[in-house]
């Protein structure tokens, strides 16, 4: 296995004194399922967005598929973004368009300006979209408008839009934070399935430590913009959790010991 993504000494400064990330280092292997956990405001979202340069990092290097994301020209940046799917907490769909139109949006990065503006998609692309929606259990909703769906269904459309890109990696920014436990499980199961059967690398921000421990191959813990834990979910200790979440760890809503036991 080779490293698909390498993050070396990445820092991000907002304004003059707000340091969101400082000297972040980690690497992600091809096909790995990696969770980033940490308290709100620790820099998880910033870190995720630095990887596809939705936010430009201040210093360091980010190597994805042997290319340094930090100094890519605009055209190459778009090319690399087509290989990285992204999933959001609030789904970020075009609510007034249908499920299949939203899914096909994932292909816009590969289109010429004219085809993109007019929304011209080939028969092949449409069939692929239908197949993906089938896999995600949305075959009954293909022509429904996105705003008629439930939260869990919307998030599955978000996943479909990312999958149609044929990505090497998925970046998921709190994908289950606005979902009920049932829908959250469906989404997490789909993501694990995608990672295992399609070999797509998944990098996911999570608030639910128990979920992160259950699904991940690797956990990255972040606090105050610094990586404070980087390793297997099996070896994580109470002290590690305490370091990630700060002093209130004793009062966390779940029991770390219980997770390992089950």
């Amino acid at each position: 296995m080779t490293a698909l993504l390498e993050v070396n000494h990445v820092s991000k400064q907002f304004g003059s004194d707000m340091k969101a990330l400082s000297d972040v280092n980690f690497s992600v292997q091809e096909g790995e399922f990696v969770s980033i956990i940490g308290p709100s405001g620790a820099g998880k979202s910033t870190l995720l967005r630095c990887i596809n340069r939705m936010i430009g990092a201040s210093s360091g290097e980010i190597i994805f598929d042997n290319m340094n994301v930090m100094n890519l020209k605009k055209k190459d940046l778009k090319l690399i973004r087509t290989k990285i799917g992204m999933i959001f907490q609030h789904y970020n769909l075009v609510n007034r368009l249908s499920v299949i139109e939203n899914t096909l949006h994932g292909n816009l990065g590969k289109k010429s300006t004219l085809a993109g503006v007019l929304g011209l998609y080939s028969q092949e692309e449409k069939e692929q979209a239908v197949n993906i929606l089938h896999v995600l259990g949305l075959e009954e909703h293909i022509y429904k408008r996105a705003d008629q769906l439930s939260g869990g269904q919307k998030q599955r459309v978000g996943i479909a839009r990312a999958l149609i890109q044929n990505p090497r990696m998925l970046l998921c920014d709190e994908p289950i934070a606005s979902l009920d436990p049932n829908s959250a499980k469906i989404i997490m199961d789909h993501l694990r399935n995608i990672s295992r059967t399609m070999g797509i690398t998944v990098l996911i921000n999570l608030h639910q430590v128990d979920v992160a421990l259950k699904y991940s191959d690797k956990i990255i813990g972040i606090n105050h913009g610094q990586v404070v834990y980087n390793g297997s979910p099996k070896n994580i200790t109470k002290e590690d959790i305490q370091r990630i979440y700060g002093s209130e760890a004793e009062d966390l809503i779940f029991d770390v010991g219980g997770i390992h036991a089950s």
């Binding site: 939705m54 990285i84 799917g85 075009v94 816009l108």
Partner: protein, 261 residues
């Protein structure tokens, strides 16, 4: 301490009311306005209105002329709004934080729109009278500039409110600028934009009547003409026709709004 707090609050309120009263009194004294006479003359005004200001049988013969002018006014208002909306859309896309090309052009396009918005349509009409004279073109441009300024502001807010999420998502897929505009920004903000345009058409029809007085065109001029000739029956017919037209347009736009939203 606590007694002080409430006493201070009461003092502030009383002080404000006292100042307001003083300013009112001063204004009445300076303009030599007689409050009692002002209000007692109201019944007389109503009496005069009922005696003179109503359409008569013979004023109906002027109806085709009036309708002609009314339709002209309506069409000018609609044309000014829709062409203003097209330009406003362009400026709104450049000016919105979500879709602007860069901060510099964003600031410039919002600045231009702010200037146009803050000059009233009536002021525009007077400014434009110098260049275009008394014609319906003056009225058209006055409404056009006013609509452009207002709609740009409304569209900027619509775009920021409705489409920032999906714009971010499409940027992350590597989609180009124009693909994002046409596949995400326009589909998500169109219904609200149409609603704003309908609102602007309604407002413009009302303003157009006033503008017509200044520019000597349209239904406003017709009203002025008959009124100054002491043809009160025809003038009142004009008012009735304007009210009917505004109610009609409003009901149509309410229907369209319900259908698109």
């Amino acid at each position: 301490m606590q007694a002080n707090y409430f006493a201070k609050k009461k003092r502030n309120t009383l002080g404000f009311i006292a100042i307001l009263g003083a300013v009112t009194l001063l204004a009445i004294i300076i303009t030599e306005y007689n409050v009692v006479k002002g209000f007692t003359s109201l019944p007389k005004a109503v009496e005069w209105g009922l005696a003179n200001f109503y359409p008569t049988q013979e004023s109906l013969t002027k109806l085709p002329d009036i309708l002609d002018k009314l339709i002209e006014t309506l069409l000018v208002s609609i044309a000014a709004t829709t062409t203003g909306a097209v330009v406003a859309l362009l400026f709104a896309i450049l000016g919105s934080n979500t879709t602007r090309v860069n901060a510099f052009f964003g600031g410039i396009s919002r600045g231009i729109a702010t200037i146009f918005r803050n000059i009233d349509v009536a002021a525009w009409a007077m400014i434009l009278l110098f260049s275009f004279g008394q014609s319906s073109l003056t009225g058209y441009f006055a409404l056009f500039f006013g609509s452009f300024g207002f709609l740009t502001r409304a569209f900027v807010e619509t775009i920021d409110e409705v489409s920032s999420g999906s714009v971010e998502a499409l940027q992350a897929t590597g989609a180009g600028y124009f693909s994002i505009i046409f596949q995400s920004v326009i589909p998500s903000s169109l219904p609200q934009m149409i609603s704003w345009i309908l609102f602007m058409i309604e407002t413009n029809i009302r303003s157009a009547t006033l503008i017509g007085l200044l520019t000597g065109s349209g239904i406003g001029f017709t009203f002025n003409l008959y009124y100054k000739n002491l043809n009160y029956d025809v003038a009142s017919l004009v008012v009735v026709v304007i009210i009917a037209a505004i109610l009609f347009i409003e009901s149509v736009s309410n229907y369209v709004r319900r259908a698109v939203l």
